[in-house]
């Protein structure tokens, strides 16, 4: 390439928001460069300023936001100096953006065709060519029937399709810079994988530079050439992707990486690393290194002097001791306990569990003939895309939903009634849940103490001093302090709130605890602490977990066994490691290969065909045959598959012969 002008340059960029008359810095002195055609990833946890950086690149800050120092250059032009017409011209031709939640990014009352062709109109394409160009660009983002889609409204398309349309609009003008802000967050794993594939494919075709913003390290690792790590509005490290992930030179980056549950690690071996403490409050005056308060290797120098951004061999780090980052102390679990879940007795038995909603034509079977056994002290992971019925299953087990007639639930050998109200107190206290979102699960007008006390009184029947003792024990158990008991939920951070929810769930000493996406609302560093806590509590109390998560790393770390669900049916169940390694169900193979994992970038992906059917139009025969890459014509579509027992406790519902089942390559 002869043109060496960077596509995007941040020169010492600072951005601040005015909140209630006070200026709060969000970005502080960020400098970076994205070369033409390069894909640059910006990672960081929530509140680090990455979205602000994305919008600043298009000079689109909220009304209370402003660039307080520094410059932003696109293709060498300072966009801060541009008059409105020039800025519009820039947005029409040189920069484009795709963001999270494509359903909202498209105008609900205009057809897709009208919205896409607007881009050509703005680019000055003759009117007669709009339609043809629209078809062409939609085909480019792999929409199979562009003519049809052009006549549709956004709400008539699936999330994946909507995002393809948004991408089509963004690349239509062949921009110099494409900003992608969490473009796949909120999409299902298989859809996310397809969209990421598409972006990679387009990169090869177009010369566009990409600024890729994500909280997901694995996605960044897969998509980007170089990576910058943001912490509290500062760029703390920057390097080529491989170097960042293999040899991080900032303790924060190193910490983030070791927080992630990764392949081959499970709760039995070692707890996850965590990053103690909290992000500094925006506007807080920090004299030394911004990360010093949370850093395991910080010393007095770090606390007093802000480190410079030092570059060596293309690897830059804002740390006094970059070489120490790799030598972070690793906590090993004392005397890792080997679990013996296989021999343990069943605590919860689920047989023929079905659940339907609606009547007549509207009737939808969300769960169909589920049969699962949960053993004492084990963790059963439940995976599957949205709409697979995981949460409905959880609600049936808890008695919040009444299962269909003929469903059978047994707890400790005794039949379990469908609704909470019809269960004995013992049964109710024994099966509890940690909900996904603590903001929803904790009553915002009650104190933490009140929530715990009420649960203890009602379910355990303790009063007075005995109750107080139990409150104290629970508080300590989840590593909260006395001070937190008097707090309202809004006074606590996300991680602390989830600890409160866990304490409440453990208040009645449950034997089965359902964890419904317990960490999906949390940042990775907080997630690690919560997962460690759950593992510790299980070791102490021998509670059984049903763990629902879309994050396969989390499931793999905590689970002893895994059940894979699709459209309300269990397609595969077995020991965690064998389900991961295979042979497994073709759907499991697709699901596993679509989740990006660090160190797994080059792996071949199992691609699914077609879109996820709904339970209203459940396919005949094998439910998965409409999307299965290994579907056997004439058989899978007509006949329900048999159960293949690969080994004791590893069961797969599939027509394929056992030796044709996919294995993780």
């Amino acid at each position: 390439m002869t043109d060496t002008t960077p596509a995007l340059q941040f020169e010492n960029l600072s951005v601040a928001y005015r909140v209630k008359g006070v200026s709060r810095p969000v970005l502080a002195g960020v400098s970076l460069e994205i070369r033409k055609g390069e894909a640059y990833g910006l990672v960081g946890e929530s509140g680090c300023g990455k979205s602000t950086a994305a919008f600043a690149a298009l000079r689109y800050l909220p009304r209370n936001g402003a660039v307080t120092a520094g410059r932003i250059l696109i293709d060498g032009q300072d966009i801060g100096q541009m008059a409105p017409p020039a800025l519009r011209q820039l947005r029409r031709q040189s920069v484009a953006m795709v963001y999270q939640d494509p359903g909202k990014a498209l105008n609900p009352s205009l057809t897709i065709g009208r919205q896409v062709q607007e881009v050509f109109e703005l680019a000055g394409v003759p009117r007669a060519d709009w339609a043809a160009r629209t078809v062409e660009i939609l085909a480019k983002v792999q929409i199979s029937d562009p003519q049809l889609v052009m006549g549709r409204y956004p709400h008539q398309l699936s999330g994946g399709m909507q995002q393809r349309v948004a991408i089509a609009m963004a690349i239509a003008s062949n921009p110099t810079l494409l900003v992608l802000d969490e473009p796949t967050t909120g999409l299902d794993a298989t859809v996310e994988a397809e969209v990421l594939d598409l972006i990679q494919h387009l990169r090869r075709e177009l010369s566009t530079a990409i600024l890729f913003i994500s909280h997901n390290l694995a996605v960044i690792a897969r998509m980007c050439d170089r990576v910058g790590v943001l912490y509290a509005g500062r760029l703390v490290e920057e390097a080529p992707t491989a170097q960042i992930f293999n040899a991080p030179q900032h303790p924060y980056t190193a910490g983030l990486l070791s927080c992630l549950p990764q392949a081959g690690r499970s709760k039995d071996q070692a707890p996850l690393a965590t990053i103690p403490g909290f992000l500094p409050v925006p506007g807080e005056v920090i004299s030394g290194c911004v990360f010093a308060a949370r850093c395991a290797v910080a010393d007095d120098l770090c606390r007093s002097t802000e480190p410079a951004f030092r570059v060596a061999d293309g690897h830059a780090s804002k740390c006094h001791y970059p070489e120490r980052a790799g030598a972070l102390p690793v906590v090993a679990k004392a005397g890792a306990t080997l679990r013996m879940a296989e021999q343990a007795a069943a605590i919860l038995q689920i047989e023929n569990l079905s659940k339907s909603f609606g009547d007549g034509d509207q009737r939808q079977r969300v769960l169909r003939d589920i049969g699962i056994e949960l053993r004492k002290g084990e963790t059963l992971g439940l995976v599957g895309e949205s709409g697979s019925g995981k949460t409905t299953l959880a609600r049936c087990l808890l008695g919040l939903l009444q299962p269909d007639m003929g469903s059978e639930l047994k707890f400790a050998g005794e039949p379990l009634a469908g609704r909470t109200a019809a269960r004995t107190r013992d049964q109710v206290k024994s099966i509890q849940i940690v909900f996904q979102n603590p903001d929803s699960a904790l009553n915002r007008s009650h104190t933490v103490r009140r929530m715990l006390e009420r649960t203890i009184s009602l379910l355990v029947g303790l009063k007075g001093a005995a109750r107080e003792a139990r409150v104290q024990a629970l508080t300590q158990g989840v590593r909260l302090t006395e001070r937190h008991l008097a707090s309202m939920p809004r006074q606590l951070s996300g991680g602390l709130k989830q600890r409160v929810a866990i304490a409440r769930a453990f208040a009645s000493d449950p034997q089965v605890l359902i964890c419904d996406e317990p960490t999906s609302a949390l940042d990775v560093s907080v997630q690690a602490a919560i997962l460690n806590l759950l593992a510790d509590l299980q070791a102490e109390t021998q509670v059984s977990y049903i763990l629902i998560s879309h994050d396969l790393g989390v499931v793999r770390y905590l689970s002893d066994r895994i059940a894979v669900m699709y459209l309300g049916q269990v397609l595969e169940i077995g020991p965690a490691e064998t389900v991961f390694s295979g042979p497994h169900h073709p759907y499991t193979a697709a699901l596993l290969s679509s989740a990006p994992a660090i160190g797994d970038e080059g792996a071949e992906r199992v691609k699914l065909v077609g879109a996820l059917p709904t339970t209203a139009q459940r396919p005949t025969g094998c439910v998965f045959h409409t999307r299965c890459p290994q579907s056997i014509p004439g058989l899978c579509g007509s006949k329900a598959p048999p159960q293949i027992v690969l080994e004791a406790g590893h069961v797969i519902e599939c027509h394929l012969p056992a030796d044709a089942l996919p294995v993780r390559g």
């Binding site: 409050v281 109710v428 849940i433 699960a441 951070s493």
Partner: protein, 282 residues
């Protein structure tokens, strides 16, 4: 970020409210009329009920700031004391309708299903008719008195409040803390009044304030058409009703001050409601 929001409680809300000029103006106006209603009879220069036919229909002067009416009564004294009846009837009616509407809304929102369906029909039916018409119908059948006016307003406003509460409860119903309460076998009363109610209080408060404005609007209107507060009260609507025939003759002061009184009181209350509403959406 969490530590900042933590500082904001009721006290913080009040402090932020008092910084809004329109809210402050609303409070001042309303407090003024409340003071008039409470202490007016002791403060006014003339007996608001005393006829003085020799001095009837006098224009405003030093002796009579707002002039006199047909019977020679002092308009200023009547306007001040006129706050009494309306500031009794309207707030009581509002409190009654808020209690009724909240109970109804909690029931509809929490239980849903057939109960909600049935109650919603009734609510819709009441809402299909303008309050003034409903009141006319009911007051014709029941006879007019301050009590019946209160009851009629309470019943015709309750559905609006019920609808607001219902939708707020439906939103709360979707939160997992309600499921968590069910999972510790909490009784329905506790779930409704201790778990859900505190979280839906802000919208109820706004709605009740807005309703108070409407209650005053409705009482004044009913009094104006002869179905509300009855003579010899110096009520504003009533005074306008008995004097507006005179404006053709240029006796504007017999109606203008009463009108200004009604307008200021209702605007004041709505400025307060607007302030609280704005706070919720910040």
């Amino acid at each position: 970020m969490n530590t900042q929001t933590a500082a904001a409680g009721w006290r913080g809300d009040l402090r932020r409210l008092s910084r809004s000029a329109s809210f402050d103006i609303g409070v001042v106006i309303v407090l003024f009329w409340v003071a008039c209603a409470l202490f007016g009879p002791h403060l006014v220069p003339y007996d608001p009920f005393a006829d003085d036919l020799l001095n009837s229909l006098m224009p405003p002067s030093f002796a009579h700031w707002f002039g006199t009416d047909q019977l020679g009564r002092d308009v200023f004294s009547r306007v001040i004391v006129g706050a009494r009846d309306i500031l009794t009837v309207a707030p009581i009616a509002t409190v009654l309708s808020t209690i009724l509407g909240t109970a109804l809304g909690l029931t509809m929102g929490y239980f849903g299903g057939v109960i909600d369906e049935a109650l919603s029909r009734i609510v819709d039916a009441v809402l299909a008719l303008p309050t003034v018409i409903v009141a006319l119908l009911a007051l014709t059948a029941l006879g007019t008195s301050n009590i019946t006016v209160m009851v009629v307003i309470a019943f015709s406003f309750a559905p609006v409040i019920a609808r607001t509460v219902r939708s707020a409860v439906l939103a709360e119903r979707g939160f997992d803390y309600v499921a968590a309460a069910e999972l510790r076998r909490e009784n329905t009363f506790y779930i409704l009044f201790i778990e859900i109610l505190p979280n839906v209080l802000p919208p109820i408060l706004v709605e009740a304030t807005v309703r108070l404005g409407y209650a005053i609007f409705t009482v004044a209107t009913l009094s104006f058409i002869g179905f509300g507060i009855q003579p010899p009260s110096p009520d504003w609507g009533l005074s306008i009703s008995s004097n507006y025939g005179l404006i053709g003759g240029g006796f504007w002061w017999t109606v203008v001050f009463d009108g200004a009184a009604i307008a200021s009181l209702i605007i004041g209350i709505n400025l307060i409601a607007d302030g609280i509403e704005g706070l919720r959406h910040d």
